[in-house]
Amino acid sequence: MVTRREALAQAVTERAVELVVSALDVNALLDEVDLNAVLDQVDINRVLDRIDLDRLLSRMDLNAIVQHIDFDSLVEQTDLGAIIAASSSGVAGEALDAVRSQTVGLDEFIARWIGRLRRRPYTGPPGPPDGLQTKAGT
């Protein structure tokens, strides 16, 4: 008997809460909340102290995140491009970049054709030598 009453009370309460929530304009309610005042009461430093950043970072695959970044569009759309341009060595540097880039293009063209003739897929310039790999690893 008691159980039935409790169930009835539970159902009535849930229905009452639903009616109240549906009657409330949550947006209007949020407009009245002074978030600045709320934030003033929050000690951000204390919250940050409680976060274990090392543990957080160890659970993130930063390499995967970096792979998703389109650096080309980033450079084109942000001031990073201007910074890089400012750090370059002027007209001579631009000419040098252009000459080297075109020659590398020719290297790739030749290597690709050699790969086709040998019926071996070309996957890019080989290397580096073991010593350089070790250096890169350290």
Partner: protein, 175 residues
Amino acid sequence: MTASAGDDTPSGPPAVIRESLQGKYSGFASRFTAFVVDVGVSLGVFMLALAAIWFAARVLTGQDIAWHKGDIWVIIAYAVWAFIYFAYSWAASGRTAGMALFGVRVVRDDGTDASGRRAVVRTLALPLSFLFLGLGFVGILLGDRRRALHDVIAGTAVIYSWDARAARLRFLSRG
């Protein structure tokens, strides 16, 4: 021609240099053009030296010296000068003027800096690669480590030494 090599923009750098090529084995075109530049530089310096000697002799003795490119001693003098030019450049910094221009460098086959002894051996072995219609250079085209005959003899390899990715970013930043 480079468009077929994978350009993603008509006048831009090849797609391959989205990655840094530093340390990777250099291709045939980079090495060949660097060598052509080196021959030009070494010949130019040699001819300037001959002109300076001719001028000095004329001022001091009042007589002209007749040069002929077929003179054996001129050929020997150039051979000695070319040996010094290549061997010293490879021993000192791993690169000649042409190689510096095209961003390639000579290293030992394990990737460490080329020693003076290897630089000398490489220079002496270089003419061997030209024998039999340049058969010694085929290894650059077909070998996994892109080494010519003189590289194999001297225990060296040629790698890209410039940061292609940084160059691409500079290109993109210029719009």
